[in-house]
């Protein structure tokens, strides 16, 4: 752990944002809203085109240049569809659910730093709406509120498939939020702050002289766990169990139509953009270029890097959807609780120990002793673990079934030399197979 810890930047973004006039805040709010909506329209098209390319078909190519306005046309059409509410639906909750799922999705983006210090209409500011001291928690809180939309929509629809989707979603998001929260802990421990601006600032370093000091490289296990749990958190393939169309028709939004359905659609894509942006912020250095220094790394250039990195994550979402089959529910839960959460906990312990060692300036001898103790413990635990039962690899035991099955070590005998078989000369009218003309 030789990476240089830079603490000087902590709190800088918050100071920069503190004197924003109210009109600038409003401009930023509108800009973020527009950015997210445009990203949604773009993502739908991009997803359809990329998945189409993966499946050797052209994809949407009719509306607008190269079909890039298809999602806009679809969205407009969706708004004018008939709005249907089932008889058994709970009136108010049915109406509120899409709204609840949509608002937090937009809200979470307010703490994402899009770029560093820029000059916006003559005002020195950072491209970020707010920089709270608990910034990362805002995203987690928003995603935990957003689940209410899904759960309530499933319950309020008053029909079994949406309810099943809602139940799955509730269990899924609670489980994966734990894994997600734990994966963020290591980043917070390294930065010493929960503010997103500070986290990006702390990654503006280099390790080993050339590699960027991004937490995705330094804390790779956390990064991997975050990426897995962000797919689970946004209900995307291969974890799209709440809306598994082959099992639950449409899942939680089966009964929804028109604008309400459009809101769910919007919320899903905005959530994808938000978790991708958070992954960029936490693990890929946010708006920093992959190299240190001033070159293409200040002001508005940050926005470019940020968008490139976020689009990379969004492409992974599409790629996963085009590649992987949906997981079974119990497998999915097992992955969350038995793999991701324990791995996170062990990894956080390791990071804490390493950080303490780095801070307290231990001597080499002390570090080696600590390392030896850890290795010894690992060995001890591995000796105590019972051996895995050796599986019978010879396949299904078929003995006793009564079926004529050849033995596994069957040796096929060599064919005997051919001999001429003497065939008895049977008269034609006694043959077993007749020509059918006898009856005539």
């Amino acid at each position: 752990m030789t990476q240089q810890f830079v603490a000087a930047e902590i709190g800088e973004t918050a100071k920069l944002l503190a004197d924003d006039p109210i009109w600038l805040v409003l401009v930023k709010v509108v800009a973020i809203f527009a950015f997210l909506v445009v990203m949604t329209l773009f993502m739908i098209n991009w997803e359809r085109k990329v998945v189409a390319r993966m499946q050797h078909r052209p994809g949407p190519n009719r509306v607008g240049p190269n079909g890039w306005l298809q999602s806009l046309a679809d969205g407009l059409k969706l708004a004018f569809k008939e709005d249907i509410r089932p008889v058994l639906a709970d009136k108010w909750v049915f109406f509120l659910a899409p709204v609840i799922s949509c608002i937090p999705a937009f809200l979470a983006f307010s703490v994402i730093p899009l770029a560093g210090e820029v000059n916006l209409f003559g005002e020195q500011t950072a491209l970020q709406l707010v920089d709270l001291p608990v910034g990362v928690l805002v995203v987690l809180a928003c995603s935990s509120i957003g689940v209410y939309g899904i759960v309530l929509s499933g319950w309020a629809s008053g029909s079994p498939y949406p309810l099943l989707g809602a139940l799955r979603s509730a269990a899924q998001v609670i489980s994966y939020e734990i894994a997600m929260g734990l994966s963020i802990v290591a980043v917070i421990m390294f930065t010493g702050s929960m503010s997103t601006g500070d986290i990006v600032g702390a990654q503006a370093t280099t390790v080993l002289g050339f590699a960027p000091g991004w937490f995705g490289l330094l804390l790779f296990p956390s990064f991997a766990i975050y990426v897995v749990s962000m797919v689970g958190e946004t209900n995307r393939a291969p974890f799209d169990l709440p809306e598994a169309e082959s099992e639950l028709v449409g899942g939680f939004h089966t009964e929804y139509s028109s604008l309400k359905f459009a809101l769910f659609f919007l919320a899903e894509y905005v959530n994808m953009v938000t978790v991708s942006a958070l992954a960029t912020t936490l693990f890929l250095g946010g708006y920093h270029a992959p190299w240190s220094g001033e070159f293409m790394n200040t002001g508005w250039w940050g926005l470019l890097w940020f968008i490139i990195k976020t689009l990379g994550f969004l492409f992974i979402f599409i790629w996963l959807r085009g590649t992987l089959p949906r997981m079974r529910y119990d497998q999915f839960m097992r992955l969350g609780w038995k793999v991701l959460v324990p791995t996170s906990l062990v990894w956080i312990m390791a990071v804490a120990v390493i950080r303490t060692g780095a801070i307290q300036q231990l001597s080499t001898a002390q570090r080696l002793i600590a390392l030896g103790v850890v290795v010894g413990l690992v060995l001890l635990v591995s000796f105590l673990l019972p051996d895995k039962k050796v599986q019978d690899t010879k396949g299904v035991p078929l003995a006793g079934s009564g079926f004529p099955v050849p033995p596994l070590d069957l040796v096929v005998p060599k064919a005997a030399p051919k001999r001429k078989v003497k065939v008895a000369n049977i008269p034609a009218d006694k043959a077993a197979v007749t020509t059918g003309k006898e009856a005539e």
Binding site: I10, P133, V134, S144, L167, A171, G192, V396
Partner: protein, 283 residues
């Protein structure tokens, strides 16, 4: 511990939020969210539907969370939203949805003296609550959080330090309590498999089926012919006899006369709806 002090020392003075008086914005937020929280609490009590009750409670919790944030405790506010609104109320909703929307509260008293005990405890709690709130309103001088939020690592750092130094015992005790509760719930919900074998895996099922050997493949489907599309049509064996395994025992056990209306309907010999004679079915 040392990590925490390190974190605390690392943070220089964050943004100055030294205003310790009630600002206009805070007052407005309070007068908007206070009634909302109260309405949520009342709605929770008086809502007929259990899920609606839970939703009203969510409104109260969200309002409280935002009030914490406004009162210079951002960490507490967001943790309130994540933990209480996000996790605990979600579990409540989960259970309520499993129970079903039409189930009403049971009014049968299962434990003897339950209501009396509940009333006593409720009154006791109310007395404690009124006493402490009254004391807080009269004899405690508010100090504000500006100092705690700006020095020694700010809001989060200070909370962490307090939790793991002064309140370590209470903290550990709470976690022990929660773990005990979770274990207890698991034991209560655990369906004992004493004597019964564990659920068979897919592989075991396959092996069992082959060792049994009576039927390895699936049962024959119904014989759906060009003349009939009913699942009650039996499949025929190559020699023209009925394949017994294709028959569905429920259908076979049904008396044919109970189906005569349906048969007539399908055959087109029964009642035919006439657009000019809107009289309903003849009976």
């Amino acid at each position: 511990m040392s990590l925490l002090t390190f974190l605390a020392q690392q943070q220089p003075e964050p943004v100055q939020r030294v205003v310790d008086t009630v600002t206009t914005g805070e007052a407005i937020t309070f007068w908007v969210l206070g009634p909302l929280a109260l309405a949520g609490a009342l709605g929770m009590l008086f809502a007929r539907n259990a899920v609606h009750s839970a939703l009203w409670l969510v409104v109260t919790m969200l309002s409280l969370g935002v009030l914490y944030m406004v009162q210079q405790a951002p960490f507490l506010g967001f943790v309130q939203i994540i933990v209480y609104t996000g996790a605990i109320m979600m579990l409540f909703l989960f259970v309520l949805m499993m129970v079903g929307r039409d189930s009403s509260d049971s009014v049968v008293e299962v434990i003897r003296g339950q209501r009396l005990a509940a009333a006593l405890l409720g009154i006791g709690f109310a007395v404690i609550l009124v006493g402490s709130v009254g004391r807080a309103l009269t004899s405690v001088e508010p100090r504000g959080l500006a100092e705690a939020n700006t020095t020694n690592g700010g809001n989060v750092g200070n909370i962490g330090q307090k939790l793991f130094t002064d309140y370590l015992f209470a903290f550990e005790l709470t976690s022990a309590l929660l773990i005990t509760a979770a274990l207890g719930a698991m034991i209560l919900a655990f369906v004992g498999r004493d004597g019964k074998p564990a659920k068979k895996t897919q592989k075991e099922l396959v092996e069992e089926r082959f060792q049994d050997g009576t039927r390895v493949g699936s049962l024959p489907g119904p014989g759906v012919f060009a003349t009939a599309n009913s699942v009650a049509t039996p499949a025929l064996l190559p020699d023209g006899t009925v394949a017994e395994e294709s028959l569905f025992e429920v259908i076979e056990a049904t008396d044919r006369s109970t189906l005569s209306d349906d048969v007539a309907d399908v055959a087109g010999t029964g009642h035919v709806a006439d657009a000019h004679a809107l009289k309903g079915s003849e009976s």
